[in-house]
Symmetry: C2
Subunit: 194 residues, 2 copies
DNA sequence: CCCGAAATAGGAGATATCTCATATTATTAT
DNA sequence: ATAATAATATGAGATATCTCCTATTTCGGG
């Protein structure tokens, strides 16, 4: 097992290229990207500490590999597949761990899918702001957020302006401050199931 | 292990109620539903032969259970959790199998999520029609389809009418016939990654 | 065979979201 | 420090999609 370290913006896996390792993230963050034929790029999900990378390629001989890019310094264990695949796939503890990880991943994606179809940006953005805010400071990059929530930059701005006009947020220098937590919560709660 | 049989429209698992079994579908089809607070119902996915049901509850103590309803006669194995959970979670062959199943599920959901955000109904419907058509006959129920693709009934109709006007489909008595396979393919191919 | 519920169908207007165009301001590399 | 690049902003018009309404048709149960 090796320890790999990546810098911000470095590609851990390039789209379409099978990785040689199974990674386990110790520290740092990354993004999963997918490119469509027409050039559209979709930010599928975020990766955080304790997530696996490359588990799909461990399990499936044939798989279209998505691109993974570090968004901060990222440190991970890297387990060489050619050497360890067989042993990993026979290790009960590892399999049980991986099963849990995958089941959560599947659940989360299903949730996101369903929510994206069922609710306008207003609700999903409120949820996203609450989830990513640091105290009452929200300062995600707009470009990333609109990739993640799957809306145009223009529309994201539009809804943010609405939030400000309604007094939910207040725009400061280089970030937004949450002014009405409860209002955002009300919008975000609509996403929860009964 | 028991064999359970469900009739069309029967609920295999009711939303919010933890199931007592892990199911493995031998034959038949089902749908996974989720209800939101505001009453909106979302059809999350279809279940087919060789899929598992209840695997989330096997793995997680705390989990909001989604509703699962048979759409045809459905026959499955039912493995009582209270009796077998421990043994299942120590069985390498089973875990490896479940891991593969879950990884495909996660991948599929991620794909659907990303596609739903990136493309209009036109493309997603073309793909859906090609995937569910029996030869050149398409005859899914509109109500189900709009739940699945996450659009309103009205809008689904609208796009179907367009397809007919463009000559891609032709409406017959109680179904649609595919007239221009290639045109639909061109629309559906946009969903594929590069 | 009849009835009520579910499914289909389509009009009309509202809203969410997109595209394109154009400035201005940060950030990064040289 | 400068120039190039990425990110932020905003207007205006187009389109995708929704909601509400109202008929008509189909279908399963008594």
């Amino acid at each position: 097992m090796e320890v790999h370290e990546y810098k911000r913006d470095e590609w851990i896996i390039r789209e379409g290229m099978r990785p040689d390792y199974l990674y386990y993230v110790i520290e740092g963050k990354a993004k999963i990207y997918l490119t469509y034929q027409n050039g559209k790029v979709s930010l599928i999900n975020f990766i955080n500490a304790h997530d696996y990378i490359g588990e799909m390629e461990l399990l499936h001989e044939v798989y279209y590999t998505k691109g993974i890019q570090a968004t901060s310094k990222l440190i991970c264990f890297a387990i060489p597949l050619h050497h360890c695949r067989k042993r990993l796939l026979e290790d009960t503890t590892f399999l049980r761990e991986l099963t849990k990880f995958l089941s959560m991943k599947a659940t989360k994606m299903a949730e996101k899918y369903s929510q994206s179809l069922s609710f306008p940006l207003e609700n999903r953005l409120a949820d996203f702001i609450l989830q990513t805010a640091d105290g009452e400071i929200y300062k995600e990059k707009h470009v990333t957020v609109c990739d993640f929530l799957g809306v145009s930059y223009r529309h994201l701005l539009h809804v943010l302006v609405q939030f400000c006009e309604k007094g939910y947020l207040e725009k400061e220098e280089r970030h937004y401050s949450i002014r009405q937590n409860d209002a955002l919560h009300r919008l975000a709660d609509v996403l929860k199931n009964k």
